[in-house]
């Protein structure tokens, strides 16, 4: 009978300690896990390839020609030329004349 009582007390004590620890560990895991996810997300954001933002310099003091269709068209065309200038291949290495071994000889060197 005593044995059973001790067993019950022990069981209650043990389960409350064990349960409490488990809850505490779970809480720690959840909190730290969440923080870790946040850190990972932040890291991912940092690791993202940085694409330079398109330079759209706002004109704070626009002239009457800031929205002139001709000026805007010229601006567009110049941007297009600029893009093509950057892309242009001025080497054309694949079209260099072929290197050929043209020394065909069968003389036996003596």
């Amino acid at each position: 009978m005593i044995k059973i009582k001790i067993g019950k007390k022990f069981l209650i004590l043990f389960s409350s300690i064990f349960g409490g620890t488990l809850i505490a560990l779970l809480a720690i895991a959840i909190i730290f896990g969440f923080r870790q996810t946040q850190v990972d997300l932040l890291k991912k954001e940092i690791e993202k390839p940085v694409t330079p933002p398109e330079v759209t310099q706002e004109i704070s003091n626009p002239s009457p020609y800031a929205h002139d269709p001709i000026i805007l068209k010229i601006e567009e065309e110049i941007k297009e030329i600029d893009k093509k200038l950057q892309e242009t291949d001025l080497k054309e290495a694949s079209l260099n004349p072929p290197l050929l071994e043209m020394d065909i000889e069968f003389k036996i060197e003596e």
Partner: protein
């Protein structure tokens, strides 16, 4: 029934037209690269056969050497012709080259191709190894001229690109000048500064043209007996790059000019 031959003719014409349309620089270039790889394989086989012939000097090894030499020379001939065709099509798709210059180069390229076609026929009737060696010497000698023409044609392609960009930039300068005339008349914005900047931009275009002329002159001076033709070509290419740099600077300035026009005084 009478309509049948007409229909067949029409069909043939449309097929050939479609083929002609499809055969562009990209295809020609692929064709050239394919033949170049074939040539390299033939060269390796030729070296082995030559080595065997020089070592054993038997009739069989001589016969094999002759076969491999013929194959090598035929492939070499094909490489040169497909290369010249690719170059011709590159010129055709490059805007900026004057019609006169383009036609002159076309004539020269066609003449070269026809020389190699003739040489290919000669290879077919070569009787022995000595004939093949002699024909190979002829090709080697002629290739010196082909080399010069190739570098000059390439120079025209690069010059064409620069001319095209310069023309496009000049068109925009004309439009800006027209707009500035309008602004000046209205008097709602100062134009003096922008006009001065435009002059500076035009100077950059002139400098770009000068560099391009210099490059073209360098290539025009190439001779068949020049030993280092590629060195001259690299020097010309450097001048083209300088010309290109001026065009980039001019474009940046034009962007600044537009910004200035869009900003109030």
């Amino acid at each position: 029934m009478k309509k049948l031959p007409v229909f067949i003719l029409f069909l043939l014409l449309s097929v050939s037209f479609t083929y002609a349309q499809e055969f562009n620089f990209q295809k020609a270039h692929e064709d050239y690269l394919f033949n170049f790889n074939k040539y390299r394989q033939s060269y390796s086989e030729y070296l082995t056969a030559r080595e065997a012939y020089l070592s054993y000097n038997t009739l069989t090894s001589k016969n094999n050497a002759q076969e491999k030499t013929l194959k090598l020379l035929q492939d070499e001939n094909e490489v040169i012709r497909t290369y010249l065709t690719a170059l011709r099509l590159k010129l055709a798709e490059t805007t900026g080259i004057s019609n006169y210059e383009e036609n002159v180069i076309y004539l020269k390229l066609d003449k070269e191709v026809s020389w190699y076609l003739n040489q290919r026929d000669k290879l077919m009737v070569a009787i022995n190894l000595e004939d093949l060696v002699a024909l190979s010497k002829e090709s080697k000698e002629n290739y010196q001229a082909t080399d010069v023409l190739s570098y000059q044609a390439l120079g025209s392609v690069l010059a064409g690109k620069e001319i095209n960009f310069r023309n496009r930039l000049n068109e925009q300068i004309i439009l800006i000048k027209e707009k500035l005339g309008e602004i000046r008349q209205k008097g709602d914005k100062q134009t003096v500064k922008v006009e001065r900047w435009l002059l500076e931009t035009e100077n950059l275009l002139i400098k770009s043209q000068e560099k391009e002329f210099e490059a073209q002159q360098k290539l025009a001076q190439l001779k068949t007996n020049d030993r280092y033709k590629n060195k001259t070509y690299n020097e010309a290419q450097y001048l083209f790059e300088q010309s290109h740099q001026y065009l980039k600077e001019a474009t940046n300035q034009l962007q600044e000019i537009i910004r200035e026009i869009k900003t109030n005084d």
